[in-house]
């Protein structure tokens, strides 16, 4: 099969080119990351001043400004690197059961779950239990650890599923070339996996959202804070969805090449799913061992729990 062989070769060259391009673009990528960091920093300041201004004088203009800044904060917050996006893109890149529609739903659900966690956290700890704001901020560390644990378990679960898929009889990698059949052989999208992803990603609230809600409580504007966080989550969903769609497209492109060449798309899909699961385990485990991705409290004072109780 000289034609199929050539297509595989072209496919391999294509992937090689992408890897080289990624390496060549590394400096540009680094500059972009630092640029995004600067935008995030500016938006954090704008968000802080926006809610202070709103609290001082609530008009339609300060409302609009606060919600606008919150949305932009969400969009740019998600534009930087983060483990949530890494988990979602890995899953979408490696699992051929994920459609564009499920990619969009996953992104939206995970982003909204993040906002919901922040709202729940502040409602329970600050309003319910009477913790001071800084203490609630400190608890983000533990929630983050829980999120990493869920991500690790999710990866293990995906690995087991992939192994099960690879062992199924009749789905061997022999060169059948029965086009059209592999659509039917795709495993269905699974709500348990989706739930795992949404939980793993969504449990970790954005520190900025918790901070905003804490400030909103202190300013006596909790409902305004909730509105701002929901809008922020929608902004996050926008960015994550875009990334998710790109992932699905990239995977479909890769599948077309490999599938056309070998006919072994199902078996290959099984291997890809296994690799994806393993990478997700690695992401979760390495974050668990690194004890946190970022500081969650200011270093000037100790955790108030130490002193006030």
């Amino acid at each position: 099969m000289p034609i199929a062989g050539r297509r595989v070769l072209i496919g391999l060259l294509g992937i090689g080119a992408i890897v080289l391009l990624a390496l060549a673009l590394q400096p540009a990528f680094q500059s972009l990351t630092v640029q995004i960091l600067q935008w995030q920093r500016a938006l954090h300041r704008l968000l802080t001043t926006a809610i202070m201004e709103f609290s001082a004088l609530s008009t339609a203009a300060t409302w609009g400004w606060l919600l606008g800044v919150s949305f932009a904060y969400g969009v740019f917050h998600a534009a930087g690197p983060g483990h949530g996006k890494a988990v979602i893109t890995t899953y979408l890149l490696s699992h051929d059961s994920a459609s564009r529609r499920s990619a969009l739903l996953l992104s939206l659900a995970s982003s909204l779950a993040q906002g919901l966690t922040a709202i729940t956290l502040v409602s329970v700890l600050v309003i319910g239990l009477g913790w001071v704001t800084r203490e609630a901020m400190g608890s983000v560390y533990w929630v983050e650890q829980a999120s990493f644990a869920v991500v690790t378990l999710l990866g293990v679960w995906l690995c087991f599923r992939a192994i099960g898929r690879l062992r199924k009889p009749g789905h061997g990698g022999c060169c059948g070339g029965h086009h059209g059949h592999h659509e039917a052989l795709r495993p269905p999208a699974d709500w348990r996996t989706a739930l795992g992803i949404v939980a793993g990603v969504g449990i970790r609230p954005c520190t900025g959202a918790v901070l905003l809600l804490g400030a909103a409580v202190l300013l006596g504007e909790f409902l305004v804070g909730i509105a701002a966080v929901v809008v922020m989550s929608l902004g996050t969903a926008l960015t994550v969805s875009a990334l998710a769609l790109v992932s699905v497209h990239a995977r479909e492109w890769a599948q077309r090449w490999s599938g056309a060449a070998t006919g072994g798309v199902v078996r290959l899909g099984g291997w890809a799913a296994l690799v994806g699961g393993a990478i997700i385990v690695m992401i979760g485990a390495s974050l668990l061992m690194a004890s946190g991705t970022e500081p969650v409290t200011s270093p000037l004072l100790n955790n108030p729990g130490v002193r006030l109780r």
Partner: protein, 223 residues
């Protein structure tokens, strides 16, 4: 065919791993608070640099969070609450040299213990005032003093108090007998170094210094 399949899968996995390490491995977090810094450099009559008097104005979110706690610390005695909180800040900041790094002729200056410190609070603003004395005050005529003030983890951004046009003139003053020129240079972070700093986990404090790359560099040249 099996061989090709193997190569394909391997390449796919490598590409995937590369993409993931790019996405997840480099978590450079933006600051979640800031401090507006004012510095008064104290020079004595023998032209020696003796101390850095500093004022740190906390951002509005952190300020209102602290004011909430001041009320809990000592409900009827604001002065006592402020003193307690200032004490705790001093204890936490002392091992960090109050986030201040001073160099003369590329040599890092050592500090004496901070004895003068207090916290002040309005309805919406908390400010820490302190005097950071140099352990062995150097004569500074003729050689530039270069300093940076930054919080290493970059949870807090520390910049000289500024408005839209840049640092306020009174955010840096030099007190004493000398004629001095001052220059506050904004950070121009090197993306590669920032990424490198961001990759180091926060528990390895000795090397972790994302904040350094975003710090202003201040030069004082006295005659």
């Amino acid at each position: 065919m099996e061989k090709l399949l193997y190569y394909y899968t391997r390449n796919f996995a490598l590409g995937l791993a590369l993409g993931i390490s790019v996405l997840a491995g480099q978590a450079a977090a933006h600051p979640h608070g800031w401090i507006d810094v004012r510095v008064n450099v104290v020079v004595d009559n023998e032209e020696r640099l003796v101390a850095f008097e500093q004022q740190w104005k906390m951002d509005p979110f952190y300020s209102i969070a602290l004011i909430e706690e001041l009320e809990l610390l000592a409900p009827d005695n604001r002065d006592e609450a402020l003193a307690l909180m200032a004490e705790e800040m001093k204890i936490n900041l002392a091992p960090e040299d109050f986030f201040t790094e001073i160099r003369i002729d590329d040599e890092s200056m050592a500090f004496d213990a901070v004895e003068t410190y207090r916290l002040t609070a309005t309805d919406s603003e908390v400010t820490l005032h302190f005097t950071l004395p140099l352990a062995s005050p150097p004569v500074i005529t003729g050689q530039p003093v270069v300093y940076k003030i930054f919080e290493p983890t970059y949870f807090l951004e520390m910049l000289h108090d500024a408005d839209r046009d840049g640092p306020l003139p009174d955010s840096l003053t030099v007190e004493g007998p000398l004629e001095c020129e001052t220059d506050i240079e904004a950070a121009d972070p090197d993306p590669e170094l920032v990424m490198e700093a961001a990759r180091i986990p926060i528990d390895e404090e000795a090397e972790y210094g994302l904040g350094r790359h975003f710090a202003e560099t201040v030069t004082i040249q006295c005659r």
